[in-house]
């Protein structure tokens, strides 16, 4: 018999229906993955199994161990929440209470559900932390969330969720906020715990690699409907629904032109330091220095893409900002004869025109109160002030057409009226309108859904072919590097540990760290 049986579940918020007639079931010890893009309703569906969303109107049937969840009293619900079904969330930093030690938070549910006294609860909490692989659990139990690393925080979350021996674990994107190498460890941990205690896992994710590795069965959601479900291997090899096929085919394709020879941009001994507050009284008098990028040198040919890959905190974004001279740095960045901070205002102006940037989050990178015409045309006002209104508008329309947005009515609209993918195209148009020679792409697709991601990468590759722009592509995603880059720098702890042509680095990585990165994404 199934442990959890969801039948014809409808979920609506006010007038707005978000999930239609979803049915699925979960047996003890089973691993089910709920896959879909953002806004497809997968999180809402999973959280509704515990009726955690108060504003949601639920219809249909959710049966846990034969009992109807929708008919439960608040008291019965509380018994189930945390006791029988636990949830772990995407971002452990916000899901843990920052002012309570992790031990207190784990003990809380033990005392609540099992009625243990403080001593026994503490003993069990230490045991729980040990089981999820946190070193020195007896000491760590008194740590606060900010004192743990990202991976440890997620482990603490899992320890908290599993402390009361639940039968089902709902994992909402449990690894998305973690670095790739940590992802594998967390997945292994979940698998081990599942085997140990016959736990059923409902995993919500958008990452198909994860599904392939982890899930027994997979259910695909599109716009609030479950369009396909079945055994993972079968769905992955012979997808039936067109949407599933699109998702599976959404791995970025490599369509690159060969780079030219020569040297367009040259960085020599580029390094970045941030001031750091020293602990104790010393901090009153002098500042420490935190090294974000150790001296690094590289060059870039016209039409070439240099991929920079690394985990969060490896210094890759600092490197990108230093190339743009948006943060203080030492060393030299030369574009032809011109260098940052050498020569006056005119040099800087010309460099700004020649090096442009596209940021990660397309919503925050567009001024919310300017129209698309103002946003895209801004660069022209500064760098080509002699254009008259008609010429400027023509250039704006041409730039928008380049990024696949050719519709005159877009000009008067505001960023919030566009989808994430469209916004990123607008951000690219803003950079392109100046006809730059170098474009810095700082995680240009990681805020986008997989299918959109593929389109944006294809667009970038095509623009490179057409205009011979050189890209510096900063990302944490090895698939993106594989599809887009000619050469790659691997960064770890502020240092470039490996570099070379993409084919060689990916096929024969020298460093164990690079090998781990590639493995984790496979």
């Amino acid at each position: 018999m199934s442990l959890l049986e969801v039948q014809d579940l409808d979920i609506r918020f006010g007038q707005h229906a978000v999930v239609h007639k979803a049915s699925f079931s979960l047996k003890a010890g089973e691993k089910l993955a709920l896959v879909g893009e953002s806004g497809s309703g997968k999180t809402v569906t999973a959280l509704s199994c515990l009726r955690l969303l108060e504003a949601a109107g639920l219809e249909g049937s959710i049966r846990f161990a034969g009992k109807e969840v929708l008919a439960m009293s608040p008291r019965e619900l509380r018994q189930i929440r945390g006791g029988e079904i636990s949830v772990i969330f995407q971002e452990p930093m916000t899901a843990l209470n920052p002012v309570l030690s992790i031990g207190r938070q784990i003990m809380e549910s033990l005392q609540l559900h099992k009625g243990l006294d403080a001593r026994a609860a503490r003993r069990q909490a230490i045991a729980a932390l040990e089981r999820v692989g946190i070193p020195e659990p007896a000491r760590r139990i008194d740590s606060y969330p900010h004192q743990l690393s990202g991976g440890q925080r997620q482990r603490a979350m899992i320890a908290m969720a599993l402390a009361c021996d639940p039968k089902i674990l709902i994992a909402d994107e449990p690894t998305t906020a973690l670095d790739v190498t940590l992802r594998l460890q967390i997945l292994d941990l979940l698998e081990e715990l599942r085997r140990e205690r016959d736990l059923a896992v409902l995993m919500i994710t958008h990452d198909l690699n994860l599904v392939r590795r982890f899930a027994d069965r997979v259910a695909v959601m599109e716009k609030g409907r479950l369009v396909e479900q079945g055994d993972t291997s079968k769905v992955m090899s012979t997808p039936e629904h067109p949407y599933t096929r699109r998702l599976i085919d959404s791995r970025p394709q490599r369509q690159l032109a060969a780079a030219a020879n020569g040297c367009l941009l040259r960085a020599t001994d580029l390094s970045v330091h941030y001031p750091q507050t020293l602990p104790g009284i010393a901090g009153w008098f002098r500042k420490g220095r935190f090294c974000a990028v150790s001296p690094t040198s590289f060059d870039l040919a016209p039409g070439e893409t240099l991929g920079v890959i690394g985990e969060s905190g490896s210094g890759k974004t600092s490197l990108a900002l230093a190339l743009l001279d948006l943060i203080p740095s030492t060393g030299r960045v030369a574009l032809g004869q011109q260098q940052w901070r050498q020569g006056g205002r005119e040099t800087e102006r010309s460099l700004r025109k020649r090096i442009q940037v596209v940021f990660q989050d397309p919503l925050s990178s567009l001024s919310p109160r300017l129209t698309i015409e103002q946003i895209v045309g801004e660069g022209l006002e500064i760098h080509e002030p002699r254009l008259n209104a008609a010429e400027r508008r023509e250039r704006i329309l041409a730039a928008l057409a380049d990024v696949g947005l050719d519709d005159q009515s877009l000009l008067a609209r505001y960023p919030h009226e566009f989808s994430g993918g469209q916004r990123q195209r607008i951000a690219i148009a803003r950079a392109l309108i100046l006809r730059p020679q170098v474009l810095i792409l700082d995680e240009p697709t990681s805020a986008l859904d997989v299918t959109i991601q593929q389109q944006v990468l294809a667009l970038l590759a095509e623009l490179q072919r057409r205009y011979r722009i050189a890209y510096v592509l900063v990302t944490h995603d090895i698939d993106v590097i594989r599809a887009m880059a000619h050469r790659v720098l691997v960064m770890k702890d502020s240092r470039v540990i490996e570099s070379g042509p993409v084919e060689t680095v990916l096929a024969q990585p020298r460093e164990p760290y690079t090998r781990r990165l590639i493995e984790a994404a496979a």
Binding site: V357, Q360, D361, S364, S365, T371, E378
Partner: protein, 348 residues
């Protein structure tokens, strides 16, 4: 993408504001009252708007005419409430068109049947104050003065606060620290004592009060604007603007400022309400506007001194409460309309 009309964030906020009925109607009512009060001289005055005397047209509202013009004995400005002058206008062929309320705020009713303060009568619809001046006229002019005062104070505070906060928040670091300490020292000054000292040194007047109250009123605004600038300066759109090579001034005014104004706009009605309250309390204490000005605070003080003249305290109280309530309702609606959670919430 079928919407016919692009919606700017400001327009969406306005649409949400309109959905709040009490706030929306309060805004209209408040604007209407203020516009009417701007024409107070035409609505409440002791001189006729138009008069015809012995075949000649006069506009006493705009001219100062000696009594001799209308057959009086003296060369002094005409008192149109004088029974003799009234009689002159009732002669055939002559007439005088008075405003709806034929009293100026300074008009003293010498012909009242009771000693001042006298209760409501046909000549003085809300009665008179303790010097026999028409209460309705004084309230009407007092409302105008208070609202005008509040508008000027709010405008000056907003401009000062936005500039100061913008510089603090945008440049951050040492600039911010130094300016923040300066604000703390300034805020630590006891406002009321300053006002008492200054009104002892100079003869208190409208503009002195505006200066003094604005000098302390901008502190709150600056704090909000500073916080918004600190938040926005590190967002990617500001970085993108810097990468385009834009000047600091352009980034501050074109990019960050429009996004930092939300708390300022939300605060405006409340700042106005605060300014009206401040003026009223200073007048009540006798530290405010020069004697004779139509001021709500002075009327409140009269009401307190003449508890049996209930019409003074009740009507002044009603005007004050009404004004402040309109402002608070507008402020409430504005706050809801500009709530960032709702801004994101209804994307469609």
């Amino acid at each position: 993408m079928t919407e016919p009309r692009p919606q700017s964030p400001a327009r969406r906020a306005w649409l949400r504001f309109r959905r709040n009925r009490p706030g929306y109607w309060s805004l209209w009512l408040f604007c209407l009252l203020f516009i009417l009060s701007l024409g107070a001289e035409l609505l409440s005055n002791d001189r006729p708007i138009v008069a015809r005397y012995v075949g000649q047209w006069y506009f006493p509202i705009a001219q100062t005419l000696p009594e001799t013009t209308f057959g009086g004995d003296f060369d002094t400005p005409t008192d149109y409430h004088d029974p003799f002058i009234r009689e002159q206008f009732e002669q055939p062929g002559n007439f005088a068109l008075f405003p709806p309320n034929p009293n100026h705020y300074s008009t003293i009713n010498y012909f009242a049947k009771e000693p001042a303060p006298s209760g409501p009568t046909r000549e003085n619809l809300l009665g008179t104050d303790d010097r026999g001046r028409d209460l309705l006229a004084r309230l009407f002019y007092g409302f105008r003065l208070s609202v005008f005062f509040a508008l000027v104070v709010t405008l000056v505070s907003a401009v000062l606060g936005v500039l100061y906060g913008a510089i603090q928040g945008f440049f951050a670091g040492w600039t911010d620290i130094a300016m923040e300490r300066a604000v703390e020292i300034w805020a630590a000054m006891p406002t009321l004592y300053m006002l008492i000292i200054f009104s002892a040194l100079f003869s208190p007047g409208f503009w002195l009060l505006v200066t003094l109250i604005s000098a302390f009123g901008w502190l709150g605004m600056a704090a909000y604007v500073r916080a918004e600038f600190l938040k926005n300066r590190s967002l990617d759109y500001v970085r993108a603007a810097r990468a385009l090579g834009q000047s600091r001034r352009r980034i501050i005014f074109r990019h960050i400022l429009p996004n930092a104004l939300t708390p300022v706009i939300t605060l405006l009605p409340f700042t106005m309400a605060g300014a009206i309250g401040a003026l009223t309390s200073l007048d009540f204490l006798g530290l405010g506007l020069p004697p004779g000005s139509p001021s709500l605070g002075e009327l409140l003080a009269q009401g307190k001194a003449n508890l049996d003249a209930w019409w003074i305290s009740v009507s002044t109280f009603a005007v004050l409460v009404g004004t402040l309530m309109l402002l608070v309702l507008i402020g409430d609606a504005l706050r809801d309309a500009l709530d960032p959670r709702k801004l994101v919430g209804d994307g469609q």
